[in-house]
Symmetry: C2
Subunit: 317 residues, 2 copies
């Protein structure tokens, strides 16, 4: 894959046409209580209700849709949601999936890969070991499907915002979390695909403990000192080069949030929306709540990116 082949806004529209019968058109939730609290009109795009419990199924099923029928299998390395999403997307086409996972991946996400008939292969929790594990399967003839730095993945992830803009018109802004950057770069392309005089702006949010995109934009080049430390396990990846280019071109700003702000946003979502949202999935709302001045009085799309996590005992409060 030539890393210079950036996906285009039209690619998001095309991706949606390819996968619309495979994915769930996830609902948009609202809450009068949260609107009052946040002083804005919030529209929550519920990707925790996507197949496999996260938006990752969009990109994975899009990438898989381009494979030939005689594909000998797919492989990836993933600490989480991309692995489960790829496993199901491949399984639905009768294709096997090998998922290289670090030994310290959370149990709920390891279990999910198996639920969707993927094969888990553990490795040491280092980038080098993950890449070596994947290389082994590529040597065996499997097609590597990366988690975020890939035009098909980015275009697929953009379908969440594409749906959202058709479910809710006249949004002022869409807020998305940033990990490797697949979701936000797809989101930015989706807004550019809209044939409407007023396009929503796009704002990204990162944990302060994984602020590689924020720092990369500030210094004008991707950082190389990335040592993530955040509960948001889905946002620990280093932003992709392709993703960073799209963010630089199309995203208004990147906000950073503390661990306490992430936790508070999660608690709002659990208590008020009654939705089990994983830490990464609450980061967009955390950004909005941490910077109310940016969003005051606006119509804001907030992407809840997923809901997979080791659950607490519901009875211990």
């Amino acid at each position: 894959m030539d890393s210079l082949t950036l996906p285009t806004p039209q690619d998001v529209i095309d991706a949606h046409a390819r996968i619309r019968d495979l994915i769930v058109e996830t609902p948009v939730m609202t809450s009068a209580v949260m609107d009052t609290h946040c002083n804005a009109q919030l529209f929550f795009k519920c990707e925790q209700l996507q197949k496999t419990g996260s938006f990752k199924f969009r990109g994975a099923s899009h990438a898989v849709s381009w494979l030939p029928d005689d594909c000998p299998g797919v492989a990836t390395h993933s600490s989480g949601n991309h692995g489960a999403a790829l496993a199901l997307a491949a399984h639905l086409r009768g294709i096997s999936a090998e998922v290289v996972m670090p030994q310290n991946a959370i149990q709920a996400k390891i279990d999910a890969v198996g639920t969707y008939q993927g094969q888990v292969h553990f490795c040491e929790p280092t980038q080098r070991a993950r890449e070596a594990g994947l290389a082994h399967w590529v040597d065996q003839g499997r097609v590597a499907i990366p988690p975020y730095e890939h035009p098909h993945i980015i275009a697929g992830q953009g379908t969440a915002a594409w749906e959202l803009m058709h479910q809710v018109t006249d949004l002022d802004v869409i807020v998305s979390p940033i990990g490797g950057g697949g979701l936000i770069s797809g989101t930015a392309l989706a807004t550019r695909a809209l044939n409407h005089p007023k396009r929503p702006r796009v704002i990204g949010v990162e944990p302060k403990g994984a602020d590689d995109t924020y720092r990369s934009l500030a210094q004008g080049a991707r950082v190389d000192d990335h040592q993530p430390d955040t509960m948001a396990d889905g946002l620990r990846a280093l932003v992709g080069e392709m993703n960073l280019s799209l963010i630089e071109a199309h995203v208004e700003s990147v906000l950073c949030v503390t661990e306490d702000q992430i936790l508070e946003a999660m608690q709002w979502l659990w208590r008020d929306l009654k939705q089990v949202i994983e830490p990464s999935g609450a980061v967009a709302l955390a950004g909005l709540m941490a910077h109310p001045e940016i969003f005051k009085g606006q119509r804001v799309g907030v992407i809840l990116s997923g809901g997979n996590m080791n659950l607490p005992n519901p009875l211990v409060s």
Copy 2:
């Protein structure tokens, strides 16, 4: 209110017409993973997404809709969801609400009454103290709105099943939890209101630690030795006489579940549906999972009655 004036199936249809613009038509969720696990086709009616987080808003807003414009205020005693539901229903009509709550009510439910502008008045956690507290407000001219033994309340609660049967056709059976019996008796009436040759059967589920309805049906009269002991705080009430009559006439059977079974059902709903469901709200699914032989291969409506609880720390698993 004459306790012999039982509500009719037509009353559910009429109630729906009166309140449809006030309530949320809650979504129906499905899960391929849970269908496989339970060997049946499950349709979850999501009352945790109703206003105030439980089905109780249906009955409360229906009862309030019958009050005159110059009503001097309403009052009730409640350990939970009915209090918050009545507070909001009254507030939306500009009517004040006095809610007598036992001191040991859970904090989340106390807070909710205030959120919806109701006035909380604490009392000792005994039936006598609750009734005395309510009597005080009735003496002050407030209209008492009981939580379940009232034709308007029962007809209003039945609108959940009424909606469900229009959202999902050809259900074989609807499963509902039983506390005071408002939801299940309304549900039974709703199925009788359906103009269709095949009506869903109705099955109720109780915690073993609050099996007053099960025992009342077995002995042919309401029990008087009711000492509830269950985590399902919404199901601790003694079944109403009016409710018991309707259950006897229209409900196929009542199943009982253990505390462990309730907890397991909750965990399935949190993990797989990504829905925060309170213990009482998971009891219908617990009954289905405990008695798979009754439901095998059938199309089953499962009422998730609410999602209000003291939440655990999301990060401690």
